[in-house]
Structure formats: C-alpha cells, structure tokens
C-alpha cells in the first residue's frame, strides 16, 4: 500500500493550453456570434416545425377565412420565433395568429397549443379539459404523450424528431395528414417512466 507519487510535469504545455482557452473565449466574445443570431437555433427550428404541423393538420368545421390561432404557454422564445415565422404567411387561406394565453380556460380557443416543459406538470387539468376538442397540443417536454398531449418534440441522434400520440389525436377529432404521420414516431398511450 505504498504511496507512489509521481509529480506531473507542469510548464509550457499547460500555460499554452490555458492561454488558448482564453484566446478562444475572447475571440468568441468579440466575434459577435451571439449578436448575429436573433433567435437560438433550436428555438427557430421548433417554431418552424410548429408552423409545419399546422400545415398538415385539419380542423373539422374551421370556417374558411377564420384565422388559425397558435397558442404558446411558458416559452417566450418560441412565441417570438413563431411570430417571425408566421409573419405574412397563411395556411390554405387562413391567417395565422400567435397568442400567449395566461389562463388555461381560454385554451379551447386555440388551434395549436404549444406547452413548454416547465408548464407540463401543472397543465394536467387544462389538458384534460381540451382532450376531446380539436386542439393540436405540442410540447418539448419529456413524456408529454402520457399527459394526453398529441405531439412531443425531442432530439435524437442530434436531430429534431417528434412523436405523435395517435389515441390523443383521434380523441381530439383532428385529422393529421399521412405525410406527418409517416415522419413521426407513433405512440399509443405509453405510461410514464417514473424515478
């Protein structure tokens, strides 16, 4: 049980590495990368996907000329990105609006509802109330499908993916295009992974 101590060689190598780290930090701070992007990359990606989900969904009984309402709860970043994404666009002639509802009682007026993960746990009652209504519920929270949500966004292998809970979709009365279903992981009421 002897104590064998071999002191590591300090010196040039480590100072060089520390200096290069400092260099990296300065370069990045001064290059204005952060200033260059308005929106964080994956937030823009999620907003673009939400817009696309609405393109491939059908709300029964939606009168022509009526606007499609995107509701975003708990994520100002995605709300802002969505406002930019839908600006000047329409889906099948329907104008697009983005709202940030504070009260879950108003969710029934939404066509697509995005819930941030932080809101998921407390949203159970609100989601229950709109389960049978044609509201396309989307979240990037883990296991959203078990909270009776319809589409769950997740990252796998470095790419954005989404899972669709078919039972929740059927219950809501929405029709999702086969193109969307073909790209999704299909889930049928998977219970939660706890602990």
């Amino acid at each position: 049980m002897g104590v064998s101590i071999i002191s590591t060689r300090r010196g040039r190598g480590k100072r060089l590495a520390t200096a290069s780290v400092a260099l990296v930090a300065t370069l990045i701070a001064s290059s204005g990368i952060a200033a260059g992007a308005d929106v964080a990359p994956d937030v823009a990606l999620k907003a673009a996907l939400l817009y696309n989900f609405a393109k491939f969904a059908e709300w029964p009984g939606l009168p022509s000329g009526a606007p499609i309402a995107f509701c975003v709860v708990g994520d100002e970043g995605i709300a802002a990105a969505l406002v930019q994404t839908v600006r000047g666009r329409n889906i099948n002639g329907h104008m697009l609006e983005v709202a940030r509802p504070q009260d879950s009682a108003t969710w029934r007026a939404c066509h697509l509802l995005f819930l941030a993960d932080s809101e998921m746990r407390l949203a159970t009652a609100g989601l229950e109330a709109i389960r049978a209504l044609p509201v396309l519920t989307v979240s990037d929270g883990k296991d959203f499908s078990q909270a009776a949500g319809i589409i769950e966004l997740y990252v796998e292998g470095g790419r954005m993916r989404f899972a669709i809970n078919l039972d929740a979709a059927d219950r809501s009365g929405l029709r999702l295009s086969s193109r969307l279903l073909g790209l999704a992981k299909i889930i049928r009421n998977v219970p939660p992974k706890t602990r």
């Binding site: 780290v21 290059s31 930019q84 159970t124």
Partner: protein, 668 residues
C-alpha cells in the same frame, strides 16, 4: 505522439474551433420557415438552448448527462462519463478501478454516493461502495445519467448522502435494429453487438459486449500488469397494454481483473511484498417493473429485482444475493399539489470468506431493510412558488431506525431565472466491513529490532454517519442560447469514520513482538461548504460550449478522545477546485469535432498533484448509421497519478495517455 507535438496541436484545435465558428456564422443562414418538414428533421443539432427541461424547475442540484453528450465525449467507461457533471470527484486508481464521489469523501469504495441503474441500486453493503469494474453497460443503451447532488435520502433512502446517480437505459422501442460497435486503442478494447426487434406488442433488445482494459503504468515506461476483461450479455423488453406498461431487463457479467495488492501472507510477504493475483467476478440481475397510469395522470409503479454476485479476490471470496421490492405512487391533488409516496423492502444475503490475513465477522449476514417515503409539493401564488416537504423513514435490521426529512422551496416567478433552497438530513448506515473486518498485516521490522504486527479491526458498535445540509441554487437563461446553473451548499457531518489506533503493546508470547491495533471509530465531525457552477452556451446549431467549476472545502473537527491524528487534517480526498471546459463543433453535416479539458486540483492529504486531462476526438459519419471516431485521451501527460494512499487495499497506478479508434454501425 511526442510531447512537443501534442500541446501545440491541442491549442491549435481549440483555436480552430473558435476561429472557424465566425466563418460559419457569416455564411447565409437557412430560412427555416421555408424548409420542408423532412429537411427540418435533417438539420444536425448539437445544441439545445436548454437541457433536460425538467431539471430547470427542480429544487435540487441536478445535472443530466444526455445520450448525445455520452456519444460525443468519446469515453468508454461510466466513471469517466461522470466527470462531465459538476461536483463529481472521479479518480482513476488503476486500469480498472475508480474512486467516484460527489462533494468529497472519495475512496475506492466511496460510501456516500448512491448509484442506481434503472432504479436498481448497485451500491454494495459489504464494501459500502460501488464496484465500478463490474458495471459493463453498453453505452449506446444509456438514455441519460442523472446526477442529483445533495442528500437524495428523502426519495432514495439511506446511503444517498452526498448524491444520487441514476443511470437510465433506453426503452427497447428506442433501440430497434442492429448495432455493431468496435473500439480499439491503447487504453483498451470494446466490442459490442445489439439487436432490437418487436414481438407482437412488445419491443425487446438483446446485447452482448466484450470489454478489455489494458495495463496502466507504475512509473512512466513501466507497465503495472493490471489489465482486465469482461463479457456482458443482457436484454430488455417493454410492452404496453393500456393502461399498464411492463418492463423486464436482465444481464449477466463475468470478468477478470488484475491489480497490485499488498501481500498479506506472512510466509511470503518478505520475499514478495506485492501480489499480482487476478480477481474473478460474476454476477447477474433480473428486474421487472409494472406501471399503471390513470387518465388523471396519477401513476402507480411496482418494481422488483433479484441480484446475485460473486467475487473472488486475492484477499477473499465474496457472495451476495439481494431481493428488492419497491412501490411508488405519484399523483396530483387539485391544481396545486403534487404528491409522491412509496414503500420498499430489500433483503440482502452477503458472505465474505477472507483468505490469509483478512476476515469478516460474522462471515455471513442477512439483513432486511424496510423503507417508506412521502414527498408533497405545494404551489403558491399561482404556482410561482413551490414548497416541498418530504421524508423517508426506514428500519434496517442491522442499523435500526432512521428518519431522513427534507424541505425544499423554489421560486419560479421570473421567466428566465429560478431560485431554490433546500435543507435535508441524510444517514449512512455502517457497512459490514466497518463492523467486522479484521486485517492482519505481515510483520515488519520495527525500530528496535522487534517485529511489528499491525492489525486493523472493525467495530461492531460502529455508528451511523449523519449529514444535515443546506443548499441554495440559482439558474439563469442568458439571452437565447446560454444558461448558467449555480449551487452553493454547506453541510455538517457527524460520526464520520475514523481509524482509532491504540498504544503499541509489547508482547512476549509466542515471541517478543510489538502489536499495534486500530479499530473503526466514529470520532470525526466535519463541516463542508462548496460552490458548483455549470454553464452552457450554444451560439449556433452546430457549435456548443459546456463548462463547470467546482469549489469545495472541508473543515474537520476531530473529537478530543480520538486517536486518529490523520483525520485531524482530513480534506475529504477531494480537490479544493476543479473545472472543465468542453467544446463541440460540427463544421460540416458529416463531421463533429469535440475537445474537452478537465482540471483537478491537488489532493492535499494524499499528496497527489493537480492534473489537467485533455481529450480530443473527431467523428466522421459516412451514413446515418455508420460512423468512425478517432480520439485521444489524457493527452497532456504521458502518465499521471489521480489517487494514492490506503483508502483501498491495493496499489494505485498512473493513468497513461491513450488514443483509440471507434467504429459504430447501426442498421436495420
């Protein structure tokens, strides 16, 4: 690679990553809203502007090592992967053994850390530690590793004193198709195959992996003859029949590892003070889980496992059989309360037959552990403030009853910030080794010519250690793509283990000799305090930086009656500071470059120097399923020490520089 090339090369690589990034950002940004869904799904994301979302709203110091981080790190062992989290002390002891702890008190068998794999504890009661060399999971099967620092006792039970590490494997549905992975290099080799398929409504996977670790070094240029190899075969199956979900998993591992042991045989010790005999280990487990979810979101989970292990070391043979049954119920009450409650039973049958010089009394012991816990989280002020109270009570047939309460509060009123605070109590029950070990060292000549016999004894009256701590945390999202997570903590430990040495005895029977005996005591109290800061910044989809800084300080308070002078200056065998900086960059869709630097401060009492570890790797993806990764690890020094001293009964060695090549091929 010679030293003169490595360091400038490393600095250049870090520089390249930074310099290339501005060029990348000036190229025309794709207009995402004009892209089709298929194209959107093909965009490679290395960064997510926020990590595991759930972690943001938890009133605890949580860090999640994601599957992607595991893949990009280029690391092949779980102890190495744990370096990615802040606050974790990882010290490689020899080629196949590690000391891993959180917030101090590191040792080969660090006893204040609870480690779970899919909810199954891999903490050993006899050693009061984790046998890392028998954990041979396929890293591709790991979905995430949750590191929850601080007393997790209220949920997880005793021995979750400093942290809980939860290794969660992927559901079988996420590992479909075939996978072949081969890793070869100077530190070791690994070859694994996995097949995942469906059978009716069930998904399953079968896998088998062979791992070999090559020798480390005793001194630069001198090998330590501590190679190891193991084979693991296992499976997992999941199936759902509304509203129930079932999971079954199991594995079997067998392996052999060499290490440098002190020779305890008095007949040969003088000639060969160091023995190099192999350790054989075998073990397997079977785990089943049933979860029922109601429409309201409430869920009931019942989990059970059996675990059998055997280990034949030069110092003795060890056998264990364990059975565990655990239930957990989770529900929300109204719109403001979230309740988790559970109960569990564990039965352990352990046996240790010591060889020459080492014995355990009693050699065999059965113990039962009954636990129950409850945690209630209540929202106030429109759920902007959440207060949680919880407690775990347990009855241990060996250590008696214990209560481990916790109180936590988090303020969620700010959109981009979270503030939380927690106070908890945690207990560590004494191990069978602390109660009943006896080690007799071979005689050594003493100063005055008489042989000196040293014996180390356990103490059947060894007491339960206790921690009461306070934590304060703050999380901030900076701009759109960066976040920082700060945790400060202070703890008070009581009844920490010491080694009480009695005054030397001169004995004349059977022949003149000096006897020195020490026994386990609990005479040390200590206060600790520390700071853990973790940050991440993802300025581009394909560029990401992660970093962390950990500061830690122990103030020991040894009782006046103690005869363990070493403990008077205990420093927890953990560095006062450690930090890491990691960068990941994907210059083109098919390639990713990762660079990481880990700095670990010196271990004062063990007299281990500080070291900086630099890892670099580059991955090239030929197709979405076929990739090659070249990596270098520990690039700064040809060899360095990470641990020393008598915390284990074997000789620590030096960690060498290494390089490896990995091929990964996934196909359907």
């Amino acid at each position: 690679m010679t030293m003169s090339i490595v360091r400038p090369l490393l600095a250049t690589l870090f520089g390249l990553v930074a310099l290339a990034a501005p060029c990348f950002s000036q190229s025309p940004k794709p207009n995402l809203s004009e892209m089709s869904i298929e194209d959107l799904m093909n965009i490679e994301i290395i960064s997510a502007s926020r990590k595991e979302q759930r972690a943001v709203d938890v009133a605890a110091a949580v860090f999640v090592i994601t599957h992607d981080e595991i893949r990009r790190s280029g690391m092949t062992t779980i102890p190495d992967l744990l370096r990615l989290a802040p606050g974790v002390n990882v010290a490689q002891i020899n080629s196949n053994k590690w000391g891993v702890s959180v917030r101090g008190f590191n040792a080969m068998y660090a006893n204040k850390l609870l480690v779970l794999v899919d909810g199954r504890s891999i903490y050993n009661r006899i050693f009061s530690g984790v046998l890392w060399d028998t954990e041979d999971l396929m890293l591709d099967d790991i979905d995430r590793i949750e590191v929850i620092r601080g007393p997790g006792a209220a949920m997880w039970g005793a021995n979750a004193v400093n942290a809980v590490i939860n290794i969660v494997t992927k559901a079988a549905a996420d590992t479909q198709g075939s996978l072949v992975r081969v890793d070869t290099g100077r530190a070791g080799e690994q070859a694994g195959v996995r097949y995942g398929g469906t059978l009716g409504a069930a998904q399953y996977r079968l896998y088998s992996q062979w791992s070999g670790r090559d020798q480390s070094l005793i001194a630069p240029g001198t090998r330590a003859n501590d190679a190891s190899h193991s084979v693991t075969t296992g499976f997992r199956a999941d199936w759902t029949t509304q509203p129930d979900a079932f999971m079954v998993e199991g594995d079997f591992t067998a392996g052999q590892a060499r290490a440098l042991w002190p020779n305890l045989d008095p007949r040969t010790a003088a000639r060969e003070p160091i023995a190099n005999d192999p350790t054989d280990s075998q073990g397997g487990h079977l785990l089943g889980r049933w979860t029922r979810t109601r429409a309201s979101g409430a869920s009931l989970q019942v989990q059970s496992f059996v675990d059998i292990a055997g280990r034949q070391e030069p110092v003795g043979d060890y056998h264990r059989r364990a059975f565990d049954l655990d239930t957990q119920y989770h529900t929300s009450l109204g719109t403001r309360q979230d309740l988790v409650a559970g109960a569990g039973y564990r039965f352990n049958d352990e046996k240790f037959d010591g060889h020459v010089g080492l014995s355990l009394t009693p050699a065999r012991s059965n113990s039962s552990l009954l636990t129950a816990f409850l945690q209630d989280e209540i929202g106030f002020l429109g759920n902007r403030l959440a207060v949680a109270f919880g407690s775990q009570v347990q009855y241990d047939s060996l250590a008696g009853a214990g209560v481990q309460p916790t109180a936590r509060v988090i303020w969620k009123g700010f959109r981009r910030q979270r503030v939380w605070a927690a106070t908890s109590r945690a207990l560590r029950t004494p191990s069978l080794r602390e109660r009943g070990i006896r080690v007799d060292f071979p005689p050594v000549p003493s100063g005055n010519g008489l042989p000196l016999f040293v014996s180390a004894l356990g103490n059947p009256a060894a007491r339960t250690e206790e921690l009461v701590d306070v934590e304060l945390g703050y999380r901030l999202e900076i701009g759109r793509a960066a976040s920082i997570d700060v945790t400060g903590f202070g703890g008070r430990y009581s009844n920490l283990g010491t080694s009480e040495t009695a005054a030397p005895l001169v004995q004349f029977v059977p022949s003149p000799q000096i006897l020195v005996t020490s026994h386990v005591g609990n005479e040390l109290d200590a206060t600790t305090r520390g700071l853990e800061i973790a940050g991440q910044w993802a300025p581009l989809l394909a560029l990401r930086f992660d970093g962390s800084y950990t500061a830690f300080h122990v103030a020991p308070h040894l009782s006046a009656a103690s005869q363990d002078p070493i403990s008077a200056t205990a420093d927890g065998n953990a560095p006062r500071t450690q930090w890491q900086l990691r960068a990941t960059f994907s210059p083109v869709t098919r390639a990713t470059v990762n660079a990481a630097m880990f700095h670990v401060g010196p271990l004062g009492q063990l007299r281990v120097s500080a070291y900086t570890r630099a890892d670099v790797n580059a991955e090239w993806r030929f197709t979405s399923g076929l990739s090659v990764m070249a990596s270098g690890q520990n690039l700064f020094d040809a060899a360095h020490a990470e641990f020393a001293g008598p915390q284990s009964l074997l000789l620590p060695t030096l960690v060498p520089r290494s390089a490896s090549l990995r091929l990964r091929w996934a196909f359907r």
